[in-house]
């Protein structure tokens, strides 16, 4: 209480903070970034560990004699798929029944808000087929899910083959204590969404699906398989789920440990782990891996079919790659609950936002605000622009298609970009609507509000999706720190636009391609950028991803406030 009530000490502290404000800001920002880059440096990271013995890879029986048969089944499946021109439901039902599973189907249909050009679908109709292997001991209490998507074309047949092979093999074992559900889902995530909603009796996105006839117990873990060829080189583990959720780290560690044990190459983000962390190239390699993960997580979209399980509090991962059919038979569900992947990470945004805190104190020492009203107008108007950005693209797609020679998807994306740019032109000097002349104090109050807003927003974002919070903080914090009406207008406006959320996304697209070692030209990059926006909007309407509404309704208005300050007169 001494600090809070003794006026002399308070005065000393405040004057110290005001005097050293800029250096402290810069140091905090640098420290935040340095710490983040340090996470890729092996001596700084915590060693991975298994929290329970039962999960040790020693408990696992490593044989799977039916590899050849699984390949044959996969070929059979591919033939039937070609014949049926889609999901061979009858054949799957018959095959699963023949393997002694309880088989059920689920039909679903969904009309997308606008056509998805990447996957060429608009009115989606499909069927999920799943079979339940009842556990001989304690059936219907807990369950595992093994899933394989049925994708059009030639890909992923081997995954279904392996799934069916596993079903047959597992059927012969008697020690199961959990139901195992083998799921073949159509239309990848849409089918998965329908199945999960049906299983849990929820309906969050307004999809039509027929209710599930059979259920296992509560699902404890899920693995999604994606295999497209008969020969293996390596297996890739995909963790990122919806809204940047990650499964329990033990799941990843366990899988990695298995791969090492049976001598399969395991990659994360498509990159092999290297041992030479002390060399420059080794470090840059792990930075690349980390940045890929950060980018993927920040995008908030599910990067594999497992992504939607995480929403239901089910640990899940996707395994992509090419399998040699040596089988790992695991009981992944015995995973003990441990803390979130890397609690250390949570501390980091606070280092960044600390520099913001200092700003509050700087402003706190100013006199209390007089004209609250003049702050209210920019706040309301920027939020209305945000609401427009959120609603207009979907509302106006038909009109745009009629008026301009564009496809519906392009219409949506271009409307979004249009509203975004219009927002830049619209709201500056809005404070003068109500209160006439803007005052020197007015912009200070506005900046105080904006900085507070940004701090709370970034804090909350970083708690839910650390990567997104970090990327936003990295770009928005410098803006928040330097903007005043007295800096050179043209230059600062340019910097502000460069660091705005939309431009951040554009740079992220190029950066991501660069990291994946698939550099693109500007033209391709731009097209990719447009498709990324449409995918983001679709993800929101299809699966309830939060990134699009977050950017449109909160981050963009907040950024507009800083834009407002720059043009304060």
């Amino acid at each position: 209480m001494g600090l809070l009530s003794d006026p002399n000490r308070r005065r000393a502290l405040i004057s110290l903070l005001t005097r050293l404000n800029s250096p402290i800001c810069v140091v905090c920002y640098m420290a935040g970034v340095a710490w983040f880059m340090g996470l890729a440096f092996e001596p700084f990271t915590l060693r991975t560990y298994m929290s329970e013995n039962a999960m040790g890879s020693t408990m696992v029986e490593e044989r799977f004699p039916a590899g050849e048969r699984a390949l044959t089944t996969g070929r059979e499946f591919s033939a039937h798929k070609k014949k049926a021109g889609g999901m061979p439901v009858d054949w799957l039902v018959k095959t699963m029944q023949a393997r002694g599973l309880e088989v059920f189907t689920q039909r679903f249909s969904r009309k997308l808000p606008f056509p998805d050009e990447n996957k060429e679908r608009y009115m989606v109709k499909g069927t999920n087929v799943y079979g339940i292997l009842r556990a001989p001991r304690a059936p219907r209490t807990e369950a595992l899910v093994l899933s394989a998507p049925c994708t059009p074309g030639d890909s992923n047949n081997q995954a279904v083959g392996l799934l069916l092979g596993l079903a047959q093999y597992f059927r012969n074992q008697i020690y199961w204590a959990k139901d195992i559900i083998f799921l073949v889902n159509e239309h990848d995530l849409i089918g998965m969404q329908a199945w999960l909603e049906g299983y849990h009796h929820t309906n969050t996105t307004g999809m039509d699906w027929s209710p599930l006839q059979g259920r296992g117990g509560s699902i404890q873990a899920a693995l999604s398989l994606e295999l497209s060829s008969d020969v293996i080189t390596s297996m890739d583990l995909v963790l990122e789920g919806l809204n940047g959720q990650l499964p329990n780290l033990d799941l990843a560690n366990l899988f990695y440990a298995f791969c090492q044990k049976i001598g399969v190459l395991c990659t994360i983000q498509g990159k092999l782990q290297r041992n030479d962390w002390d060399s420059v190239s080794g470090y840059s390699h792990s930075v690349q891996t980390m940045m890929l993960m950060v980018m993927k997580q920040a995008s908030g979209r599910p990067w594999g079919d497992h992504g939607l399980f995480l929403r239901y509090h089910i640990e899940a991962a996707s395994i992509k790659g090419i399998n040699s059919f040596r089988q790992y038979k695991t009981d992944v569900t015995t995973i003990g609950r441990s803390e979130s992947p890397t609690p250390v990470l949570l501390l980091l945004p606070h280092a960044v936002t600390l520099s913001l805190c200092l700003h509050w104190v700087l402003h706190a020492s100013l006199r209390p605000p007089r004209r609250v009203l003049s702050v209210l107008t920019p706040l309301v108007i920027s939020h209305l622009t945000g609401v427009a950005l959120y609603t207009l693209p979907i509302q106006f797609q038909e009109m745009a298609v009629e008026q301009f020679p564009v496809s519906e998807t392009e219409a949506v994306v271009l409307t979004a970009i249009g509203v975004y740019t219009a927002g830049l032109a619209l709201p500056h000097n809005t404070h003068r609507l109500l209160s006439g002349e803007g005052t020197e104090q007015g912009w200070r109050v506005l900046k105080l509000v904006a900085v507070l807003y940004l701090a709370v927003l970034l804090g909350c974002t970083a708690l839910i999706n650390f990567s997104l919070g970090f990327i936003l903080a990295l770009t928005l914090v410098p803006v928040a720190a330097f903007v005043t009406p007295h800096v050179p207008k043209v230059l600062s406006a340019f910097i502000l636009v460069i660091l705005s959320p939309a431009c951040t996304l554009l740079f992220s697209v190029f950066f991501f391609q660069e990291l994946q070692e698939l550099p693109v030209s500007f033209q391709e990059g731009w097209l990719l950028y447009l498709s990324v926006i449409s995918q983001g909007i679709l993800d929101h309407f299809l699966y309830g991803s939060l990134v699009y509404p977050l950017i449109a309704l909160l981050v963009y208005p907040c950024w507009l406030l800083f834009w407002n300050i720059l043009f304060w007169k």
Binding site: L4, S5, R10, S340, W360, L452, G459, C460, L463, I464
Partner: protein, 495 residues
Amino acid sequence: FNKTLKLLMLNQWLTVRCVLIPRLKSPGVKRRFRIYSSALLVLQWLTNKDYKGGERFLVKMAAPLTLLVILSVTIRAVLYRSSLAEVISERVEVVSPLTAWKRVVEGLALLDLGVSPYSGDVFHETPLIIYLFHFVVDYAEITFMLADVITAVALYMAVMDYNKQVFRKQKYALEADRYPLDCLELIRSPKEMYYIPLKVAMFYLLNPFTILSCVAKSTCGLNNAVIALFILTTIKGNVLLSAIFLSLATYQSIYPLTLCAPALLYLMQRQFIPVNFRRVSFWWFIAQYAFMYLGSLFVIVGLSFFLLGSWDYVPSVYGFILSVPDLTPNIGLFWYFFAEMFEHFRLFFLCVFQINVFFYTIPLSIKLKEHPVFLIFMQLAVISIFKSYPTVGDIALYMAFLPVWSHLHRFLRNIFLVSCVLLACSALFPVLWHLWIYAGSANSNFYYAITLLFNVAQILLVSDYFYAFLRREHHLSYGLYLKRKDGSEATLVLK
């Protein structure tokens, strides 16, 4: 009667001139006109009984208040229609097991089936509430909006009256030369006091906490209305009504019992009865008030008994409040402690926690003997911080009083920090709830940490106001620029 007639005529003349002449030709105008003018009349009669200055008042004050009420009702009505209402009514910060609308509906269903609503462990509201909603369940939304409006208008009128008294007292003190010379800048001017009642109503009606609580149909809004009416009747000096509303508030949630101390102090101050334990008049007044209070409490309790025909509700409502069996997380301090505690110590800590609410009454009453309205504010804050099932609606009630103390701003020290913490915590509540319950990457400790921070911020806020109030009073009697004995500048420190 003459006055009323004059008023009526004036009103009609005004409305005809300003509003209706351009549209007189359309049908239905006459009816609307009558409704409008009578509503205005009622408002005017409620807020200002004498005619003098009525016109000015009408233009300057009642119109903004009406506008405010319309605005707030619109916001609530829009939110009721949106999909947000369902989400909000599930939030643990907004509804508690006591006040949840879901539980009231459950109780109503049981009542309709002829089963006691208190059988089972779902419904914990009082019998009067369930019988109220037995009749108005179809108009529940309107009832809750009305309760909010009543609270706001009652607070508005109460504060207006209180401000008049403050001003009068200040005038007497000035005439008697009781203030030191350098305190002139502490003297409150009628100009700055003019908009305070309106600000109070605005702080209540437009507070996001109130809006959330109303949209969730938390019965906390009704409790607030009763407490606001109690404050109004007390400040107006009506002893009987004050006792009745206090007993109603006590009946609703026990804790307002502590408000009887400020009520007694205020009423005695108003009737010039000295607070002196040796005087007969003092004890006689307390006896009168206690008789009225206990009598009405007895009537209400008896009425509840006859409505339900059993005493089921006593353990189910008051036992539930006092023994805290439901440990659903909320913004209070109880749930985590009692979830973690060994069963062996439960009774002891229960007593400690509950006494906490009541205990502050005595020292605060002694310290704030001369300022009962500030004491009401402090008591409301203490109740909303330390009660067993607090919701944001409780916080909204005492926050509505903050504009009344706007003259203390120059003495507040941590207001900026505290408001930042309160804001950040309000944003973090749903986020950490999501992380805990849905994402599974946090646990109850995270949520409780925020709860703790939120409550610490509230306590700091209240103690800051307390300190500022005492300091202003000190300055008013000893001068603004205090000197130490050796002549250097002195600072006041709260210890």
